[in-house]
Amino acid sequence: MNRMWRLFRIIVLRDLLLAFRRRTEILMSLFFFVIVVSLFPLGIGVEQQILFHIAPGVVWVAALLSSMLVLERLFAADYADGTLEQMLLTSQPLSIVVMAKVCAHWLLTGLPLVLISPLVALQYRLGEGQVLPMMWSLLLGTPALSMIGAIGAALTLGLRGGGVLLSLLILPLYIPVLVYGAGAIAAAATNAPQQAYYMLLGALTVLSMALGPWATSAALKFSLE
């Protein structure tokens, strides 16, 4: 148990360190999120009523896309320099490695979105009552995005045109998260109870965390054979 935890911690810290050495990559997905969210009012018009209605969906679609933007590189760098093969040789279960990498991915792409989402609430002139639900739904839902995405990243590892294929495989699987995540924010707008949405988002995250590492490590083994 202790060893598993140590391996987990080492890989998370290593991935974070690597990311901080190349900060643009983290900032890129964050600014992608901000830019995509800002494009919608420019294209649709700035009427407050419209913005109010589209905000939940826009925030979540932008979150899906920006989370997917860096997914391709989740395993690619380690695959290219052979580190991934070394990781496969570890005596600990491969799921731990996968969990650690997903955790690092979430810390670098999911958590910043949660923290920056109040800015979006200002842009879309949402009420104060919707800011916290937006942050909660992103906090509960984005880990599932990272985990489901990891399965796709492992399946398409090292393929030509992997990025487009990855989005084709992963976006349909993201739909439940999108529906309940946006649902929670929309429910908050009318002061409807949001508890059910949070519970469903939490359930999706827990379910993906339970089954995702297994599927991802199986996919990694098949990709590296």
Partner: protein, 252 residues
């Protein structure tokens, strides 16, 4: 004396078996489809007014939707068998099932759109069951895309098997998508229908069509498996000694 379950897991023994059974599946599928459609279109009692005869598309729509879900389960099932027992043929069957499943999913969506246009005046509505069926179509497409994107057959089989099993969550989603807790929140075009409340003639015509579609699936999937076998095993001796391959080699 035990049964040798793995006898037909070898492509060399499965290939002739599939060839022998395909004509039977084709013939029974055609007969059942003719019978089911005739029964459904002309012999079921008129329970609805004359303007509502468009409902008869149900004899294609519902069986196609059932088959689209069932074939996904079949595909994921063979993928699991392939991963567990490491049998090449299981992956071939899974790969051969995907296009037929995708066609049935598309057929269900398309006939549903016609039905929706005539009865509710809209081609598409974001009803939960339609949406989840659309997700199923995307999953079939993703499966086929992944299969064809990987050149190495072994990796392609395994990777798409994992994907098929991950996507299995949509099947209960589609099945339960009519149980809407609050009709004001998710207005559903698909009402909850229990088997008992359907008029028995309509139900039996529908079940006949389902069986016809099922036998059709058997026929085309077996045909496709035979083609995949020929393609993947073309360097083996037994394939080159097949009479149909020999006659082609002589001609060319």
């Amino acid at each position: 004396m035990g049964i040798n379950w793995f006898r037909y897991a070898s492509p060399a023994s499965f290939y002739p078996l599939a060839g022998k059974t395909i004509p039977w599946f084709v013939a029974s599928a055609v007969l059942l489809a003719i019978g089911g459609l005739y029964w459904g279109f002309f012999e079921t009692p008129n329970v609805l007014s004359d303007q509502k005869q468009y409902y008869r598309i149900i004899f294609v729509h519902v069986p196609a939707a059932w088959m689209s879900m069932w074939l996904y389960v079949v595909m994921a099932g063979w993928s699991l068998v392939g991963l567990v027992f490491n049998t090449r043929l299981s992956f071939m069957v899974a790969a051969a099932t995907a296009p037929t499943g995708a066609i049935f999913t598309f057929l269900a969506l398309w006939t549903g759109a016609f039905w929706g246009k005539t009865s509710w005046g809209t081609w598409w509505d974001w009803d939960p069951r339609m949406t989840s069926e659309l997700i199923l179509l995307f999953l079939y497409i993703g499966y086929m895309a992944l299969q064809s994107a990987i050149d190495d057959v072994r990796r392609a089989d395994r990777a798409s098997a994992v994907l098929a099993m991950v996507g299995l969550f949509t099947i209960p989603l589609i099945y339960y998508s009519v149980n809407c807790p609050d009709p004001n929140q998710c207005a559903s075009l698909h009402q909850r229908s229990s088997m008992k409340s359907i008029e028995s003639n309509i139900l039996w015509a529908m079940l006949t069509m389902t069986l016809a579609f099922w036998l059709y699936s058997f026929a085309v999937i077996l045909k496709r498996v035979r083609n995949i076998i020929l393609e993947r095993e073309k360097y083996t001796e037994w394939v080159n000694e097949l009479p149909e391959i020999r006659s082609q080699q002589v001609r060319s």
